[in-house]
Symmetry: C2
Subunit: 250 residues, 2 copies
């Protein structure tokens, strides 16, 4: 069969701080009868990366600022969660009614700074985005390499987007592969430069992975086999973050 295979990595345990995710993923993929192979792209949901890295906050321990408190009370949100959302942001992009869109310290624009109170492994705990998702991805790539596997790694999260309802999974961290594919300078058979100049393969891979992960089935890792990725040891999703100055919608 030509093309790609996209398959889940089931059977991972609940992830706790310090967990060796790469080792767990290698073992789970083998146990599932689909062992990882060099050339694969492994897409890991950011939530388990955050849990392994201890990027969680006990809500009871949070000192809530007056601004967070009044906003949370007005819209019946958890004041501690709002405080955490603000601390994870370098800028509020939109705050309209109960909707809070922020730009995180990484430069991602998303709802609630990507702070997640669901599936947090316990009541009263919030999960933050990884502090440096590219670095997290590089760590997993290095660990796979140490196991003899040349694998590209994407750390994914589920974001909304303007103009369209519903969310999709996108890449927030990457290692080993160029996140984009460029057609710049290439022309079609009629001599026109392609209108489509650069495609974000990293986001398309993350979205494809979501189709087999789901959020309800709680399979946080997927593998894509057969994608010809362009090696890039300096890969970073920062390449895909549009600077505010160039952004007409921020």
């Amino acid at each position: 069969m030509p093309g790609l295979q996209v398959f889940p990595v089931p059977g991972l345990p609940e992830i706790t701080p310090g967990a060796d995710l790469a080792e767990m993923i290698v073992a789970a993929a083998s146990a599932a009868g689909t062992p990882l192979a060099s050339g694969d792209v492994v897409i890991i949901t950011s939530k388990i990366v955050s849990k392994a890295e201890g990027r969680t906050v006990e809500l009871a321990d949070v000192d809530v600022s007056p601004f967070a408190r009044q906003y949370a009370e007005k819209w019946e949100k958890d004041p501690a969660v709002i405080e955490i959302v603000l601390r994870e942001a370098r800028r509020v992009v939109r705050q309209v009614g109960p909707v809070l869109i922020t730009e995180t310290h990484h430069g991602f624009v998303c709802a609630n700074s990507g702070v997640d109170q669901s599936s947090s492994g316990a009541h009263g705990r919030a999960v933050l985005l990884p502090e440096d998702p590219d670095a997290s991805a590089r760590g997993y790539r290095d660990a796979f390499r140490a196991a003899g596997l040349d694998i590209a790694v994407i750390v994914s999260d589920t974001f909304g987007r303007p103009w369209r309802e519903a969310q999709t999974d996108i890449a927030i961290g990457i290692a080993g592969m160029n996140p984009v594919y460029s057609y710049i300078g290439q022309v079609d058979p009629h001599g026109h430069e392609f209108r489509v100049q650069v495609l974000c393969h990293a986001d398309e891979l993350a979205g494809a992975a979501e189709l087999v992960k789901g959020n309800i089935s709680r399979v946080p890792v997927a593998v894509i086999r057969g994608h010809q990725w362009e090696p890039d040891e300096d890969a970073t999703m920062k390449l895909v973050l549009r600077e505010s100055e160039r952004d007409l919608f921020r």
Copy 2:
């Protein structure tokens, strides 16, 4: 192998007005050794849909308005193309320097109303988006059904997005399957409602298809096998178009 397979449908001829795309796709998939099967999702690039439907305009025939002409001249664009872009729009969302973001008559927000001067099959011709991409998709689904195949159909295009560089393929038309998957009301094992409530599987499928199509290899059709789609004979991408009143970024 569990999960999904994503594979291209190579070998389609140059598409001309009136072409029976569904019949061509069935034949090309069989010739490639990967015949279509019930349960598949077939993703068709909008450009060949437009060509088959004759949604092209000869630039020499376009009567250019003064507004289009002065803007085109200022930014060294083709005045006829700008005129077509404006005619395809119900609203200009952003016009900053050479960038023209419009809301099409369908309600899609994209650059240049989705008008494409590349790969148009000839010099001096522009390709418009299909007039009703959902109806186009329904037509192909009906034709596949007439051939004994129960297939969901997505018509895709390549759009940019705010906040992030590079483009991705998304769905602009759909038939047979619900474009979104909803977690609303479902709770995780700790009793929290899922932060992720609705995922746009249609866009994730379109993006996955792009990974095997490419734009340069000019394979305009891909098949995704193994996706458990929710049947919906009234499917429409309109469900995913956020109304201006609800949109914080328009």
